[in-house]
Symmetry: C2
Subunit: 125 residues, 2 copies
């Protein structure tokens, strides 16, 4: 049996569909250079697919391990309570799949460098 | 007269003070390796300083140019309307200071690499 790790970018979801499309487009861009077999996205609310559906889709694609990357800037209730609760239910539903929540985007070491770099660019102009 | 460009990281602000402290800590980390004379932060609502105060503080520090970096993941109303309106008022109040809004964090090229890198790390473990 082969092992496959897939990635799901989890965003809040917005009533503004352009914001959801931004997340979907970003997901495709991340996928293009990723080592993961598949990169998908899921939304906590207001947009499709929701997180349980996104997880089921990755399992259908053959994932044995799923990494959940919260596309959030701070450790509010969504990151610390809502997403973990959804993942716990998903683990019960899919006991053979390893589902792991990664640190949220604002907590990633790379954020400091991203901000510095964003602020240096206009200096060059 | 010397010229100085200062940077302000602008976040939404939260009722959860730990989230505001996260932004303040990140600001200090960005400042530590930045070429800018000073890096500060400002909040759209719910936390201090607000954006007009943060701008006045940088001018007091000698800024002749201020870069505003929105710490937001999507181009919602806050990024496209609220922050630009606040900056327009600040420009009228401080006509000798060049105040420039940078692309928001979710729009930065570095975001794709940050997400890929965040998802690769646990593979190494």
């Amino acid at each position: 049996m082969s092992s496959s790790t897939n990635l799901i970018l989890v965003a809040h979801g917005s009533r503004r569909e352009a914001s959801n499309d931004e997340v979907r487009r970003l997901t495709q861009q991340v996928a293009a250079g990723s080592h993961h077999q598949h990169v998908g996205c899921g939304f906590l609310e207001l947009a499709d697919p929701d997180i349980p559906t996104a997880i089921a889709q990755e399992i259908d694609r053959g994932a044995t391990r799923i990494l959940i990357l919260p596309y959030f800037l701070s450790a509010g209730r969504h990151v610390t309570e809502d997403i973990p609760a959804i993942l716990e239910k998903a683990r019960q539903l899919h006991p053979d799949t390893h589902i792991q929540q990664l640190p949220y985007v604002g907590q990633q070491d790379g954020m400091i460098e991203l901000l510095r770099s964003a602020a240096e660019k206009p200096q060059v102009q």
